[in-house]
C-alpha cells in the first residue's frame, strides 16, 4: 500500500533531485519527522539546498520571493496552511510587485491543509481560495496519485509563484489510485476523470473523494456522469465543465472549502447565466458551532443530491429540506 504522504514524498524528492539549483526550506524539513514524512530523504547536494529554518513565516514567505527573483527555484514547505496567515503581507504586497516581471525561477509554497479534525477553533483552515483571491495567486490541491503527478509536474518548479495544498486527512491513507484523468488542463488546475451524459459532477478543493463517491454511486445506479475535479484554488476557465453541463443539463458542485469566497461560486454563477437547468450545490456548513474540536468531515447525502438534480425520485431534494 502506498500512502498519500509516501507518494507525495517520492514525487517531491524525484523532482527536487532533478534540479541543478534549488532551495527547499522550512521548519523541520530535514530533521525530526521531516514534516511528518513529506520531505523525508530530501538532502542538500551541490547547488541544491534543503535547510531547516527558524519559525518566521512572514520572512520565510519573503525569502522564497527573494530566491525566485534571483533566479533560484524555491520551495517553502510548511506544516500548516494556518501558519501562512503570518505571511499574508508577502503573499499580497510582494507578489503584486513581482508578478509583473518575467521570472525564470519558481517559488512554491507547499503546505499541509489541516483537515483531519479535532484541532479546535484554530488550526483547521482549509480556505485555499481565500489565500488565492487576495492577490490572484494560483493555488492547487492534491487529492489523488494522478493529480499529485499532474500538479507537481506542471507547477512545483514552474517559473512564478503558486501555493500547493496537501491534505492531512488523507496523510496515512492509501492514496487514491483512480485511472489518470481522461483530460487535464495544462496547468493541472482542471481534470476530467470520467465522461458521461447524465450529469456533470464537479469537486473542488479537497472534495475529490466525495465527487468520486457520487460518481461511483451513480454508475451503480446505471447512470453515467461526467466527473471533473477542480484542483485550482483560483478562478479558471469553466468552459469544459459548462460544455458538459450544457449537454447533461444537470450540474453537481461539491466544495469542502470553509471559505465564503468559494471558487465554485464562480462556476455556479456561470452555470446560472448559461441557463443550466438543475444545479445542486453542496458546501460545508460553517458557523461558530463548528469552531470546536470535532471530526470536521465533509459529508454528502447522495440520494438527496440526486433528487436535487431529478435523478432520485421519492427522495427530498437538498434545497427543499434546507
Amino acid at each position: 500500500m502506498t500512502t498519500y504522504v509516501a507518494h507525495l514524498n517520492a514525487a517531491l524528492k524525484t523532482r527536487f533531485d532533478a534540479q541543478e539549483r534549488a532551495v527547499l526550506f522550512g521548519q523541520n524539513v530535514v530533521t525530526g519527522s521531516c514534516l511528518s514524512g513529506l520531505t523525508r530523504g530530501i538532502k542538500s547536494a551541490g547547488q541544491r539546498l534543503a535547510i531547516n529554518t527558524p519559525n518566521i513565516e512572514n520572512t520565510l514567505a519573503g525569502m522564497g520571493f527573494g530566491l525566485m527573483l534571483e533566479g533560484v527555484p524555491a520551495i517553502f514547505a510548511m506544516k500548516q496552511q494556518d501558519f501562512l496567515l503570518l505571511g499574508v503581507d508577502q503573499l499580497v504586497n510582494t507578489w503584486n510587485i513581482l508578478r509583473r516581471r518575467n521570472h525564470t525561477a519558481s517559488f512554491t509554497i507547499l503546505q499541509v491543509i489541516v483537515d483531519s479534525g479535532y484541532e479546535g477553533p484554530q488550526s483547521a483552515l482549509n480556505n485555499l481560495p481565500d489565500l488565492c483571491s487576495i492577490s490572484r495567486i494560483e493555488g492547487f490541491t492534491i487529492n489523488t496519485a494522478a493529480d499529485a503527478e499532474a500538479v507537481l509536474d506542471a507547477q512545483i518548479f514552474a517559473p512564478g509563484f503558486r501555493i500547493i495544498g496537501v491534505s492531512q486527512r488523507l496523510w496515512r491513507r492509501e492514496i487514491a489510485a483512480w485511472d489518470a484523468p481522461v483530460w487535464s488542463s495544462t496547468d493541472a488546475g482542471l481534470q476530467r476523470y470520467a465522461d458521461g451524459g447524465d450529469a456533470t459532477v464537479v469537486s473542488f478543493n479537497l472534495a475529490w473523494e466525495q465527487g468520486a463517491a457520487l460518481s461511483a454511486a451513480m454508475r451503480e445506479r446505471g447512470q453515467s456522469p461526467a466527473f471533473f475535479h477542480v484542483a485550482a484554488g483560483h478562478v479558471i476557465d469553466w468552459a469544459p465543465i459548462l460544455r458538459s453541463a450544457g449537454e447533461s443539463r444537470r450540474l453537481v458542485i461539491l466544495d469542502d472549502s470553509k471559505s465564503v469566497n468559494r471558487t465554485s461560486q464562480h462556476l455556479a454563477l456561470a452555470a446560472y447565466r448559461r441557463g443550466i437547468g438543475q444545479v445542486a450545490i453542496v458546501n460545508r456548513e460553517v458557523h461558530d458551532g463548528t469552531l470546536r474540536p470535532h471530526a470536521d468531515l465533509f459529508t454528502i447525502d447522495i440520494p438527496a443530491i440526486l433528487a436535487e438534480i431529478g435523478l432520485q425520485p421519492g427522495v427530498t431534494a437538498i434545497s427543499a429540506r434546507a
Partner: protein
C-alpha cells in the same frame, strides 16, 4: 586637487530632489513622493561602496538611492508622472521604484516588507556563489516591525551576507520615537543574534563611503548580516503658525511637498552637520562647491526640461 566625485554626487542628489519638490509644488505628481533631503550622504556612499553585482532592497523613501544609482532624472520624473516614458513605464510610480539593472532588485512601500525579501536575495548569492552583497534599507519606524528581527534571524541562520541599513531620522510619520515607543537599543539586540552592529553619523559622504567598504568586506568575510544604524535628519521641515502655536509648530518632513525648500544654486538647507551639503564645505570649501552646484543645477535643469 581633491576628488570631488562624491561631492558632485551629493549636490546632484540634493538639486535633483529640489527640482522634484518644485515640480510637486506645481502639482506635477499624483503619486506620493517621499523626498530624502538630508539622506544624501548615506545614499551616495552606498552607491560608491556597492560591488558590481551587489543587490539593494529599498523602501518607500527610495528617491535618494535610485538617484545615486541612476543618472536618469528625466526618466525618474516621468515615472512619477506615470508616463509611458517613465523609468518603469509609469507602472510603479515613486514608492515602489526599482531598477534591477543597477542592483535595486526590489522596493516596497510596506513597512518591513523588504526586510523579509532580503534573506532570499542574500541566500541566492550564497547558492550562486556570486560574491555579491545584499544591502537592505529600513528605518527607525520599520525596524519596529517583526520582520526586522525575523530577517536578521533568517540571514544569520543561513549564513547569508548582508548589510541592513537603519536610516534613523527619529520620526515615523508625524511621531517622534519618544512619542510612539520605548527606546530600542540595537546594540544588545544584534549582539543577542551575534550580528555585528555599526553606526554612522555626521553626514560626511567620504567617511561614509570608506566605512561602508570596510563593513561590506566584514559582512562578506563573516557570511553574516551586519546592522548599520545611520543617524540622519530628513530636511524640509517647516513651522505651522496656529493660535495655539503663534511662533509656529514644528512639522517634520515626511512626504509630499517640502514647502520651505526651493530650487537654488546654493542648496544648503541647514548650516550644521544635519545637512550633508553643509558638511561638504568643511572638506572642499564653499567657493568650489558653489561653482560645482551652479554647473550641476544647469545640467539638471537641461535634463529635466
Amino acid at each position: 586637487m581633491p576628488d570631488m566625485t562624491l561631492a558632485t554626487e551629493v549636490l546632484r542628489l540634493r538639486l535633483s530632489m529640489m527640482i522634484v519638490n518644485d515640480l510637486n509644488r506645481g502639482g506635477a505628481f499624483k503619486v506620493p513622493v517621499h523626498l530624502a533631503m538630508g539622506h544624501e550622504a548615506i545614499a551616495c556612499a552606498v552607491a560608491a561602496a556597492m560591488g558590481r553585482d551587489d543587490r539593494l532592497l529599498l523602501t518607500h523613501r527610495n528617491i535618494h538611492y535610485n538617484m545615486a544609482l541612476s543618472r536618469g532624472l528625466k526618466g525618474q520624473i516621468a515615472e512619477y508622472r506615470l508616463q509611458e516614458d517613465g523609468f518603469n513605464e509609469g507602472q510603479l510610480g515613486c514608492m515602489n521604484f526599482d531598477n534591477p539593472g543597477a542592483g535595486v532588485v526590489y522596493t516596497s512601500s510596506i513597512l518591513g516588507n523588504n526586510l523579509a525579501v532580503a534573506p532570499g536575495v542574500a541566500l541566492a548569492q550564497k547558492v550562486k556563489n556570486s560574491g555579491a552583497l545584499t544591502w537592505v534599507v529600513t528605518g527607525d519606524g520599520a525596524m519596529e516591525e517583526g520582520a526586522f528581527y525575523e530577517s536578521l534571524l533568517a540571514m544569520k541562520s543561513t549564513g547569508s551576507a548582508a548589510i541592513v541599513i537603519v536610516e534613523n531620522n527619529g520620526w515615523s510619520l508625524g511621531s517622534t520615537i519618544a512619542e510612539r515607543r520605548c527606546p530600542i537599543d540595537v546594540a544588545p539586540l544584534t549582539k543577542a543574534l551575534a550580528v555585528p552592529y555599526r553606526t554612522l553619523g555626521g553626514n560626511d559622504v567620504m567617511a561614509y563611503a570608506e566605512a561602508l567598504r570596510s563593513f561590506r568586506a566584514e559582512a562578506l568575510t563573516a557570511s553574516s548580516p551586519l546592522v548599520l544604524e545611520v543617524a540622519l535628519h530628513s530636511l524640509g521641515d517647516w513651522r505651522q503658525k496656529t493660535e495655539e502655536f503663534p511662533d509656529g509648530k514644528y512639522i517634520n518632513y515626511h512626504a509630499g511637498l517640502a514647502p520651505t525648500v526651493n530650487v537654488t544654486d546654493w542648496p544648503v538647507i541647514a548650516d550644521d552637520d544635519t545637512d550633508p551639503v553643509h558638511v561638504l564645505t568643511c572638506r572642499h570649501g564653499e567657493n568650489a562647491l558653489r561653482s560645482l552646484a551652479r554647473d550641476t543645477l544647469a545640467a539638471l535643469r537641461q535634463e529635466a526640461a
